[in-house]
Structures are given as structure tokens and as C-alpha cells.
Symmetry: D2
Subunit: 349 residues, 4 copies
Amino acid sequence: MIKVGIVGGSGYTGVELLRILSAHPEVRLTTITARGDNGTKVADMFPSLRGIVDLAFVAPEESNLKDCDVVFFATPHGVAMSHAKELLDAGVKIIDLAADFRLKDTAEFEKWYGMPHACPDILSEAVYGLVEVNREAIKKARVVGLAGCYPTSVQLGFAPLLTQGKALVNESALIADCKSGVSGAGRRAAVGTLFPESSDNFHAYGVKGHRHLPEIVQGLKALTGNTRDIGLTFVPHLTPMIRGIHSTLYATLTPEARDIDFQALYENHYRNDPFVDVMPAGSHPETRSVRASNYLRIAVHRPGNSDTLVILVVEDNLVKGAAGQGVQSMNLMFGLDETTGLKQVPVLP
Amino acid sequence: MIKVGIVGGSGYTGVELLRILSAHPEVRLTTITARGDNGTKVADMFPSLRGIVDLAFVAPEESNLKDCDVVFFATPHGVAMSHAKELLDAGVKIIDLAADFRLKDTAEFEKWYGMPHACPDILSEAVYGLVEVNREAIKKARVVGLAGCYPTSVQLGFAPLLTQGKALVNESALIADCKSGVSGAGRRAAVGTLFPESSDNFHAYGVKGHRHLPEIVQGLKALTGNTRDIGLTFVPHLTPMIRGIHSTLYATLTPEARDIDFQALYENHYRNDPFVDVMPAGSHPETRSVRASNYLRIAVHRPGNSDTLVILVVEDNLVKGAAGQGVQSMNLMFGLDETTGLKQVPVLP
Amino acid sequence: MIKVGIVGGSGYTGVELLRILSAHPEVRLTTITARGDNGTKVADMFPSLRGIVDLAFVAPEESNLKDCDVVFFATPHGVAMSHAKELLDAGVKIIDLAADFRLKDTAEFEKWYGMPHACPDILSEAVYGLVEVNREAIKKARVVGLAGCYPTSVQLGFAPLLTQGKALVNESALIADCKSGVSGAGRRAAVGTLFPESSDNFHAYGVKGHRHLPEIVQGLKALTGNTRDIGLTFVPHLTPMIRGIHSTLYATLTPEARDIDFQALYENHYRNDPFVDVMPAGSHPETRSVRASNYLRIAVHRPGNSDTLVILVVEDNLVKGAAGQGVQSMNLMFGLDETTGLKQVPVLP
Amino acid sequence: MIKVGIVGGSGYTGVELLRILSAHPEVRLTTITARGDNGTKVADMFPSLRGIVDLAFVAPEESNLKDCDVVFFATPHGVAMSHAKELLDAGVKIIDLAADFRLKDTAEFEKWYGMPHACPDILSEAVYGLVEVNREAIKKARVVGLAGCYPTSVQLGFAPLLTQGKALVNESALIADCKSGVSGAGRRAAVGTLFPESSDNFHAYGVKGHRHLPEIVQGLKALTGNTRDIGLTFVPHLTPMIRGIHSTLYATLTPEARDIDFQALYENHYRNDPFVDVMPAGSHPETRSVRASNYLRIAVHRPGNSDTLVILVVEDNLVKGAAGQGVQSMNLMFGLDETTGLKQVPVLP
């Protein structure tokens, strides 16, 4: 049994980790921390876990974590990197759901997150946690910086186009119009995500610049083998639903790509990925079709046979976009089948 | 493996059966029917089941069902009773999620459902499917008429009070103020449950008389050993949420009951029921704490130490109020532990 | 033109006052305050008011308010009473949307609100702002303590029963099962009312005791001419909608009341109240039927001709339960028709 | 007073017309029809209108409509054109909220709506009802084919770019990623827009081709003075909210347009339009900022100073996208100020 610790168990990605890991056949949850809630029973904060998780929150001190085989950080940015060295020295693997180990360029990290990076050496060994792209590297990783929720959907949506050796689309003018449920904003007191503010309402945000933009661009560029530059317009929107991300991606075909069968291209690209579902031509995937599951579904359209390709991608931001992807990575890091404990059927309606 | 058929697989209770049964370790789904959708692949109608359920809908003819060990009817009222005799004769057990085998009095059935009962003899052998009340009888049943969604929450909420030999509350003036998510109205085209009608809106319905009223009264009376009459005011309300029932129950204490420790009474009553959770004193159970799970949670209050007892009950109407309760019953009918395949962790947020 | 000031213009009742008063034909908005937002233009905080309200927030100092004819306090408890004396001395009338001038018993105020009352003398002259009950007194008032949102619906729902000289129902065991939209919790950062917490969820709260309980009991007793005691069980619930309160009231008929025509009783009681609508027998009022309007609708039921009377009441908690009732009171205090500026048609869907 | 008739008063645009027109100072509602509901009182179907609209539905026969000065058709496609000639002959003006008088090319109409056009001659005189583009023509029109909900937001969002004589953006590759509330699907029984299907869910639809596409293309081309061709990718999405459209528009700058101040361009373009609000640079308009009002708000972004322009547009689909635009047109047709009866303040929260 893998001994698992969770730092930051009181947020949405934390409680989602608890939901998944408490039913994982190869995991024993040993330590859960939450700042300011030491001593509180997990099930008192989340009655959904009554009779399922019997632990209490402890302080996020390393002494409480060093006996784990792996620790998930479901914390704000900056926490994982401050604990990384001591845990690695104790032989504990690290999976960070925040941004500490995503951006390879520390200057970029500092620019977007407003703090210097605490451990550039560890950052340089960290593996970017997007399984379908980095599966082999994740198997060998000691530190995984999990892909963000938006970046997962955008990268997996564009990947079959960008990994073909030559450019199939105008890679300097990609567009990602993304819509997220409100749980993406996290479980912290804020006016903007109150029910009366978010319900029956829709708006864009961060059009000027969003922290996920440099992560996505870095990832898309990596998909080209770092051989070509990427220009991306990324517009996230807040949508009145709890879970789910729907990314609508636009790309302009290059002249030589006009005869490609993109449906076949996508199906072929993902034929061995158990959690990526390329839907039949003409489909409109719904976010609820992946609700509370680790699946991500894609549909490829070329309306009016024009040169604009439209790719629709849905995922559950808390599962494939966070906790589920973390468990999928953990499975690989410990030699398990990547689907172990991740076969929850989507909840519909 | 138990060979299972589902009649009416395109409604909400049908697709919920599919979600649960497709992951049940002792079940093989063999037959799924849906009127008018013969030949359609289940996963084409419900993409959430892509890669999970590989069957297509077939016609609801008995020849398609006779090889099953058990058939679930997730159909409108009147369907199960028209198939019951032939299936029983073929050795197939029946679990009806509709009302055909709930009301023991055929005149009551005819009054509330507007049709004569097709098989009073089978009705008389049918067992009322409320596991926590009828566990032993369900184990031996050939036909189970599952408790309705509201009736489940109201009966389990009142049960500890009514089963004590003498009346602890004024049983002629019970009140059940119940709130249901919209999935309770089923998956059929209707104006009243459109999103723009049901969202950001709240109203009562059926105050004059609702089909669940006679079922609840029959059940509450049975809880007294059919020794005392029941008077119940039942007011259901439609609530802008997908899943969940919250029943707020009111009962007036008899003078001799004033010194009882009701918290202890409830905890003791349900100490051996794996799916009923009596929460700590002072709790306010949330519907989401049981979302997509078979749990039902109860809290007992006595505000201001007055003579009015307030019992709060939450369940997922599609699970404990329908499909989950059906699987729980099936487990018992086939000698399995009643929790087999039903340990889904509630989905929060 | 009445010169109007608003203290606390950045909350939900504040912005609702702005919506209504900005279109009121006899009002000129002169001063709007919001703690911590001095200098911010109102329309920058609430773009819905762009081109409609041209003011900026100023500090909540009395010097900014003394030129007003009337000041609305849309603030937390405790603010209005700290400004009352100075404003009254300056000839400014006061309408408080919080609780400072509701409870006549200062000990009760201190018990429920955790602070001593700052001006018991002004409290004793203050009029309780429930127009349909206190119309004449409001006309002459200098200080109005507006009825709370729940109390408005419960008192107007029970009023026709309690004002008849003799008890028609068991007044020691009244029940109010109330459901409120989330805007009732106010516009302040809090985890419990975040969208992902409140959406697709339903729960009771404050069953042990809620601040509106003593206010309602005081009001119901006043309806009997303070001749009879009231026993009330009050259970509020949080409902996933923005606006609206639905109160479901239960009362047990006294034997001598069994032959009364309650439909006629209610219609007659409210025949001269322009904002109270007694709906036809058998109706189930919807909260959206009063959305964004000052109407309150009532339906009276006696299910199964039993002795339990069920009264359904809907209102918009921010209008008839707060800002609208405030403007209705202001109209009376300044000799206007009470409907002036309050004829907004409910918004449906 | 203008005598107004409404054909199709039982749908969402019909009841919205009733809400607005019942409070319009220059209008007298004389006739309201709804197929299958003759004799029903309007306020019995929509209790929100109790005490406000006193009419009953009558049959949609011309004899009931010929005394009107103007008739609104809030009906499915095909109805208005079948009544147009008789009404015009009787001197009645026509405002159609459906598509009968939108597409100038009858072949296009037949292709997208599956029926031949009943009166091409009337179509040729009909004016396209988008006030900010066609104000002068609408003043003189006998027949107005109102712009659709999506087309209004897309055309007004692109208009300042397309009306400049020379192309500022690549007009052959425009993108409109549009999100609509569910009321846009109308008030008719359908499974796909049930609350349990649409809530907590998000998906695109009609990517292959949507009826609004040819209308938008026709309109955008007209904005160029019919001098240049338009290529548009239009992807509509269904969003879990009642009202509101958010259109996110993308356009690629031509090299010579790189130095233009687009904020100034937009502000200048709409400086005389009372219902179009160009928000300050950097804004993210919310749909609720126009809820239940006739305003449309626009923000212009150029993220990272790249060549991709992003325009955000919000409107209430039932007001500026339908009923409000209809009343705005009517005001012009009858010589009134276009804002008459349309100054409802947006409802927030």
C-alpha cells in the first residue's frame, strides 16, 4: 500500500483527492493537513466523508509527512517548493497541484506569481504532469508539477495538430476560448464567486493576461519539440456551474493541411490513452459527460469546410484538471496501471 | 454473476442504474430496453457511458428479458405489472422503481394512478422495498416494489419515533415539508421543468394531494405495527437543483415523551444500517453530502426545548430514493452484502 | 423631490435601493456611502448602474448625511443606532433595513445581537416597518425599523388568522418552514455562500435559534393585540437561487374555526393592500412570480380538509423583504401614494 | 396611445413583451393571442402579471388584430409571413421577432428554415430591425424583421471595425464564440433544455451550421456597404443561466490597422446610441449587468498587444435580443423617443 499525505486538504482539490484516494485500492491515507484546522476531523468539515475518512487534520509540518511515500500539495502557490527539499531528502515523492513546478523559466515564475522560486534545482528535475504527453518521464519522476486545469484541456486539444513535424495550423495565432465552472476559483471566501454573483451570470476575466497563459504556451511549444514558436490568445470565462471546463479552440489551417482527415488524426493520436475520448465526427461534448470522472472528451469540427478548425474539449477541472490527473501520475510513479482507482463513472444527471 | 435487465433505460433512474450496475462487481448487464430507441447504443444517448456500457437498447419484449436473473423496471407506472407474471413464471425476479407494487390496497392504487391493478395476486406477495424497514422480507422476495423518493426520506425520518410500542408524538398530525431536486420529475419533455422555469425559482406543488401521500401513510402506519392511525400533512416543493431531497419533518411530542433522549433513540435505531447516518446533535445535513451516493443522513432537533420535534433528512433522490435502493435490495435478494457495489463516495463540491 | 441618502450602498439591499430609487419620480439621490470605498464611483462597482447613477461613494459621516430628508441604512446591525440621534436632531428621517429598531425589548436585542442598544429612547419611538400592519404609524414615524425578510413573509402569512379577536388556530404551536435565496446572506466574502457550496445543494440552518425568531414572535403577538402568547417553530433553509423567499406555514385549527372560509378571510383581510395578492384557491405561488418586484403572494390550503392549515407565501427578499418595503415606507412618511416608484413588473423568466 | 397586439403571447419573448409594454406610457395592449390557449387569462398563465395585464388570450385570427396599430409576432418562424399581407392592407404595422423578414435571399430562407417564403414582395420592403444600424429606415418601415439574439450581439460587436471604408481586420476569418442562456431555446417542452440537462452543464451546439449564421453574415456584409465578403466561424454554446448572451469575438488586425486606438474607435462609433455602452478599457462585462434591460455593453481588448482583437459583448437575449429591440423599433416607427418605456434598470443581483 502506498502511504499518501495531502497538504491542504480543506480546499476543493484537496477534498477531491480525498474522495478518489479513499477508494483507491493501493493507497493508505496517512496524513492530511490544513492550515488553521489542526485537530478538526476531516469528516466534520466534509460530512460527505463521514464513515469514509477517519483522519483529523494535522499541522503541515514535515515531521508529519516524512513517513509518507508520496505527498500531494493541494495548496496555494509557494507552499510545495518550500517543503520540497526536506521531503525529497527523506525519500518522499511530491505531486504539486499548484504552479510551483510548472514553469521551467524561473523568471517567468517570478513574473506571474510574484515570488522568487525557492528551489530552481528541484524545479529543473521536476516533470510536468500531463500524463498523455509525459507518461514515460512521470514514471521516473520524484517531483511532478501537475498541469493546470485550463492548460490540460488546451494542450490535449491542440496536441495532435502540433506534434506532426510540420505545422498544420498557423501556430502564431491560436485561440483558446475557455469556460470554467466556479470551483476552479477555489474554496476561499471571496465576493466575486458568491452564489448571488456567479449564478445566472457569465463573464470573461483575465483577458489581459492569466497565469495559465505562459504555462500553456510553454506546453504547446514543447509539443512542437520546442522547434516552433507559439502565439496564443487565451480568454477564460467564469460559468455558472460547479465543475467542468469547456475549451473551444480555434486554429487556421495551413494550405498544405487542407486535405488531412483530422478526425482520423485525433483518433489515432489518442488511441492508447485510456482517459482521452475522441468523440465521433459532429459531436458536441458536454461537461457533464465527464462530471466527477477523469475522462476528457474531444470533438473536432471544420465548419463549412473552411480553413478554421474548431476543437471542443471537456474535462472535470477538479479531476482530469487536478486531483484525478494527480492520482493518474501517482499510479505511474509507483508502477501501477494508470487507471487504478480512477474508473469512477461520470455522474449524469 | 447476476444477469440484470433494465426496462426503461433512458430515464434518470435508468441511467443511474446503469452508472451503478456497470461498476457492480457481481453484475453483468445483459439487456436494456427503451421505448422508441431500439437499436440506439446506450452510450450514444448518454456519452457519459462511452467505453463503459457497450449495449444497445432493445425492444421491451419479454423474450429479451427472460434470460435475466432480475429485471429492474425504471418505467412509468403500469409497465412492471403488465410484465410481472410472465417474468416470474420464467424465474426472473422483479424490482420495480415505479408505483405498481407499492400500495397494498388496489382501490387506493386505482384512485391515485387512474388504472386498475393488473395483477392483485402478485401485488399481495410483493415486498415494499425500503431496506431498513423490510430487510428480511426483501431477502426472500421475488417482487420488490421500491419505496418512492419522498417516502424513503419521510419514513426513515419518522421510523424511530413510530416503532416504540407507544406513541411518542401526536401521530394524527405529522408534517412532512419536503424539497426535491428537479430530476425527481423525470426525463421527459415538459414546460414546467425547463431550466428557465425551474432555475432561480421555488414553489410547492400537489398540496391538495400527491401520489406519495397514501404510500407514506401506509408505510408510517406499518411502522406502528398497523396498530395506530396516521394523519400526515405532506407538502412537496420543487427546488432548483438537479439531485437531492431534503425533508423537514415536524412532530408534536406527547407529554410522556418529553424526557426521552431523541439523539440516542435515533442513533440506536440505525446503529446497524450501513447507509443511514444519524449526524451529531445540532447538525444541519446538506443534500450535497450524499450526492451521487446511497447514504441518507438524519439530524434530530428540538428547538427551544419545546414540544415540537424537527427531523432533517437528506438523500439523493436518484440513489437512495431510487436506483441505489434498488441495488441494495437486489444485493439482499441474491445473498450479497447489501453494500456491494454501493460504496461510491459522495461527490462534493 | 425627496433628498435621499443611503448608508451602506455596496451590499445587496443597498444596490437594490439604488435600482429602485434611481427610477423613483419623487426622489433625488444625494449621498451614498460605503465603508472603504470612498471615492469609488457607484457605477464602477455596479456596472448595471452605468448611465443611471452618477454618484461616487463618500465616507459615512453625518456631515454628508445631514442635508438629506431621509437616510436609509443598508448596513450591518449596530450602525443605524449609532447615527440616529444626530440625524434626527438635524431633522433627517431614518429607515433602517437592519435590526437596530426592530426588537422593542432591549434585553432581547442584546441577547440576539451581542451588543447593548445605543439609544433605547429612540427605539421606543421607532415604528416597526411592516406597512400592511403599521401603515398609519409609519406615516407619522421619524424612525422606521424595517421588518426583516423572513419576518415579513411569516407575519403577513399568519396575520389574517391572528387578528380575529379569538384564536382560530393553536397559536402556541405555529410552524414556519422558510426557504430563502442566497442573496439573503448578504454580499460579503464567506465560504458557505460561495457558488460551489450553495449551488445544487439545500440545507436548513439556525434550527436551534435564528435572529428572526424573536422578531417574528414579537410581531405575531402584536397581531393578537398583545393579548395572547405565541409559540413558533421557525426553520430557515438556504436555497440555490439568488432572490426569493418561500414560506410554508402550518397552523392547527381550533375546533370552532373548522367552518371558516379561509380563502374569503384572506382575500378580505388584504383587499386594500396593493402589494399583497391572495391567489385563487388551490394555487402554488412561485418565487419568480414576484422577482424584482414589491409584490407578495399568498395561497391558503387545507389539505384533505384536515385541521392543518397550510399557507404558502412568496416574496422577493430584496424588495418586499428589504429595499422595496423601505421605499413603500418612505412613500408613506412623505405623504406619497405607497406605490409610487414601486410598480416594477416582476421579471419572468 | 398606440394600440398593440401580440401574436404568440405564451412564449418567453411574448411574456417579455407583456412585461415591457404593460408599463409603456404610450401603449395600450389590446389583443394577445396564443395558440391553444384561447380564453385563458394571461395572468392565469403568468401570475407575475396578476393585477398588471387584465386581458385573456384570443385566437390568432386577423379579425382580432386588424384594429391594432402594430402587431408583434412572438411566434415560430412562418407565422408572421402568413398574416402579413392582410394586416398591412388593413394599415397595421408588423414587427416580427422570428426570422420571416430577416434573410433577404428567399433561397437562403428556404434552405435554413425548410419552407418557401410566403410573401417575397413584402420581404423586399421589410427593414432589418437592428436599430443602431438601421435607425432611419426603421422610422419609415411598415414591416420590421427584428435581428436575432445572437446576430444583435455579433453585429454590434463587429460594427465599428467593418464600417470604416477599408478593412481593419481580416474579414474572411472572423470568429464569434457565443454563449447563451437557456431562455434562448424558447418555452416549449423539450428534453434538452430541462433543468437536470442544462444545469451544471455546458456545451456547444450547431457548430456545423446554425440558422443565425447566414443572418449574421448578411448583416456583417451590409456593414461594409456590401463591398466586401465576410467569412465567419460561429460557435454558439448553451450556458446554465436563464437570460443573457455573452459573445466573445475575435478578429485579426490588418497590418495598417495596428496603430488604431480601438477604444476610441468604439466609443466614437456608439456615442449617440443610448442603449450601447462601450465600457472602459480593460473591462470584462457581465451578462447580469444588463439583466432585464435593453442595454448592450461592449469591451475591446488587444491582449499582449498582439494582432488578435478580442471584443466582449453582453446583452439580455430577451430584451435587446428580442422584445426590447422590438419596442425600441416600435418607438421609432411611431415617432417616439427610442428609449420610451425602455428605461428599466438592470436587475442585480
